[in-house]
Symmetry: C2
Subunit: 171 residues, 2 copies
């Protein structure tokens, strides 16, 4: 009986995950002339984005720079408003460009360290070049510690400054 209930739950979770994840792909996949997908996805076309977490970690270690991972979804209004604030903030863009390895993902990785308090969007996680997730660098919401809203953009900038102070100065 419990096993049966678990199966039902698993199916429900699978359906929920697939329907929420299916949306961005469908939007992109509309017929007709498509706009080429960018790696920036609107978070800063002039920045150099890593494509994958593995690539981002490689660059963080090679260049001894902290990594900033932005989890978001194309059809999430909270992600969209945060993206606009991020892309339009000259200070954020400058610091991201000069001092960070950056990665934005619309799909969760299998690495559980990147979701210290769950998988939600938008969510911004810093990773030290020593490959340690900086779970101590948080936003202002106790229920979603790594979430930011457009009004938190100064806090995000100060968190970026915090992440620049590396855990280990030598690798």
């Amino acid at each position: 009986m419990i096993r049966g209930l678990l199966s039902v739950l698993l199916v429900l979770v699978a359906v929920a995950v697939s329907s929420s994840l299916a949306k961005p792909e469908k939007n992109i996949a509309k017929r007709g002339k498509r706009i080429p997908q960018t790696l920036s996805r609107g978070w800063g076309d002039q920045l150099v984005w890593a494509q994958t977490y593995e690539e981002a970690l490689y660059w963080a270690r090679a260049q001894n720079k902290p990594l900033m991972v932005i989890f978001h979804l194309e059809d999430c209004p909270h992600s969209a408003s945060m993206k606009k604030a991020f892309a339009e903030d000259k200070d954020i863009q400058k610091v991201a460009d000069e001092d960070f390895i950056i990665l934005n993902l619309v799909y969760e990785t299998t690495d559980k360290h990147l979701s210290p308090d769950g998988q939600y969007v938008p969510r911004i996680i810093f990773v030290d070049p020593s490959m340690t997730v900086r779970a101590d660098i948080t936003g202002r919401y106790s229920n979603r510690m790594y979430a930011y809203e457009p009004s938190d953009i100064k806090l995000l900038l100060s968190n970026m400054q915090k992440a620049k102070k590396l855990l280990k100065t030598e690798l």
Copy 2:
């Protein structure tokens, strides 16, 4: 003594890896107005590309379509000529668009199954939606079994047809 030699070898390998990987990033990172990076990277701007291997596997399973992973490097002339042939071939583009989940990577994943006979570029690996790497679908070069040249474009198309015949019709 042997230990010392091994250390030197390891350092040499690390230097070789980092210098070969550093090139594409440096090219992109030139100052001045940058062209936004695309997920297609020139392999077909009208196609819908997955960003990561994890995302690609998810879509392959969800849509029950084979996955095609293209490993390449931006500054490799063999990759560039294969990319041109791939992007300009209408049949390839059509089949890729309709019947495949597609992913192009300039950085190796940690999954060893994606490099059955080594990590070289360009290299095209098919993965069945059952998550089995189709090591049986090969090009014409015995020393680099998953390499293709522009003159192999028809072979690639026929390999794509082969990959469409799924290992398991139901998941």
